[in-house]
Amino acid sequence: MSRGSTILAVLLLVASMAASVVLVGTIAAAYPSSPMEDVLFVSSPEFVKRASLGYSGLLADIYWMRVVQYFGRKHQRDSMEYKALAPLLDITTTLDPNLVVAYEWGSTFLDQPPPSGAGDDAAAVALIRKGIRNNPSEWHLYFTLGFIQYLGQRDYLGAAKTFEEGSRISSSRSWMKVLAAKMLTDAGSLETARYMWQNIYNESTDKNLKQNAELHLACLVVDQEIPQLESVVSEFRPRTGHNPSSWGDLIASGLLRVIPRDPTGTAYVLRNDGHVVVADWKKLPFIQRGKPE
């Protein structure tokens, strides 16, 4: 082959490939394909396991990646439906019954109310119970189950029983026993919730888990501060006969010293009706109080 022919062939190769890439983009933009993310081509976990020919661990990791990507995409779009999440997690954990991270995170993805998660408590509990059956010595799984029973289902007795069972595992943490007791005596308080999230924060080595716990702790601060601020507002009303129009009114009256700020550093919003809300609740998605209606 002559030098000229070689150069021509190389140029043609590069140009054709580049043009085909552009064309594929154009076709995809002009004729978008229907979304396939909720479609499971094979739904039987047992069949997938048999078909893996012994490479079930690798396939479980691939399915777990698919779970994370699926959840991430839906979460980013504030989706209210996560149809394929539970079946995908079932396949993942059937392929590798010891993949503890899939039970822990998966049940959290399933449990959190939409749009933060699928809002499917029953599926979350079923998944974590499957995890406990397959990994009875993993105290983390008992903790996660108790956590879902406590915060998701408000089943304080069930949560107390689960924390108690988990605390009997030798590698378990001493605060699991404390949590079991708190479920029976003080389950609904912010203090108990803070105790739990603080322990999750201290215990986590995973960066994402730590950030999530930090965010929950910040939301608990808001849940605690908003009633306090509204109580200050209600003190102002009898003195002046009207609601304060701004934080400045409260500072001028001596009821507050500075403009109150939420944990993100943004000032709380004082509404005309005397209610206090956060400026951007999406930055504090787990707050129970102070969401603008």
């Binding site: 020919l53 661990g57 690798l58 990791d61 994370v68 990507q69 991270v101 822990e104």
Partner: protein, 258 residues
């Protein structure tokens, strides 16, 4: 006899190492090992597990592909190129020829597996920056994978001793797939009665018991492998390989090569 087998084995090893397809497979396996940490980034909490699963699965898949596709061509290529006749015209028995070929490919696989394992451990060290007792446990899984290759090479040689390369590949591949279902077949045999039951039982013992040689998922979760299993698997592989190679020698000794 030993020196003649050694000479054939060495030549087989040299020929296989010169084979470009072999290099490409090893390169690809190493590439997979290198991409594992990147794949871990798009998942949560499974970086180490994923690296182990991906790397050992790659070692297994590429090893099996080499065992089958190089194994079936060991005899047929020699016949096709007519290089077998000068070898057999010397004082070399057909059995020695088969045994030499078997050992040569085994040596190739040993070197390949060792290279891929070194690549895997480098990737693991780069990721975890630590070396624990459980990391050493992974070597048992690699050893079991090598035992898997010992079985598959034996089967490839057995089939290629009487069949065409295409059919031999098909048979060997089918035996590998069936081998992963050996336990299911035994369970089916236990449920079946009469001739079907006997047939299923016989088939379940003829196909290789590969399920017990795959402990990748277990070592990825730091689960220990019992020493007894190492002993049983080694013994089973030795027996199965002896049976297949004996079969190959028997068939090849009676084969009309004219």
């Amino acid at each position: 006899m030993i020196s003649r087998i050694r000479a054939i084995a060495f030549n087989t090893f040299r020929e296989a190492v010169r084979d470009r397809v072999l290099y490409n497979l090893v390169f690809f396996a190493l590439l997979l090992v290198a991409t594992a940490p990147l794949l871990g980034e798009i998942s949560i909490g499974v970086q180490r597990v994923l690296l182990i699963n991906l790397s050992l699965s790659a070692i297994s898949i590429f090893g099996i592909v080499i065992s089958i596709f190089v194994g079936i061509s060991l005899v047929s290529k020699e016949i096709e190129k007519r290089t077998l006749y000068p070898v057999l015209s010397r004082p070399v028995g057909r059995g020695e020829f088969i045994l030499g070929k078997y050992c040569g490919l085994l040596g190739t696989l040993l070197v390949n597996t060792a290279a891929m394992t070194v690549g895997f451990y480098i990737a693991l060290m780069l990721m975890t920056r630590d070396f624990t007792h459980s990391d050493a446990n992974i070597l048992i899984a690699v050893y079991f994978l090598f035992l898997e290759f010992v079985v598959i090479i034996g089967l490839s040689l057995l089939f290629s001793s009487f069949s065409s390369p295409l059919l031999s590949a098909l048979f060997a591949l089918s035996m590998f797939v069936a081998g992963t279902f050996a336990a299911d077949l035994r369970a089916f045999a236990a449920m079946a009665h009469g001739p079907e039951g006997w047939l299923a039982r016989a088939a379940s013992y003829v196909i290789p018991n590969l399920a017990s040689l795959n402990v990748i998922t277990r070592v990825s979760h730091d689960q220990s492998i019992p020493a007894a299993l190492v002993g049983y698997n080694t013994l089973y592989t030795a027996l199965y390989a002896t049976a297949t190679i004996s079969g190959a020698v028997l068939i090849f000794s009676r084969r009309d090569l004219k």
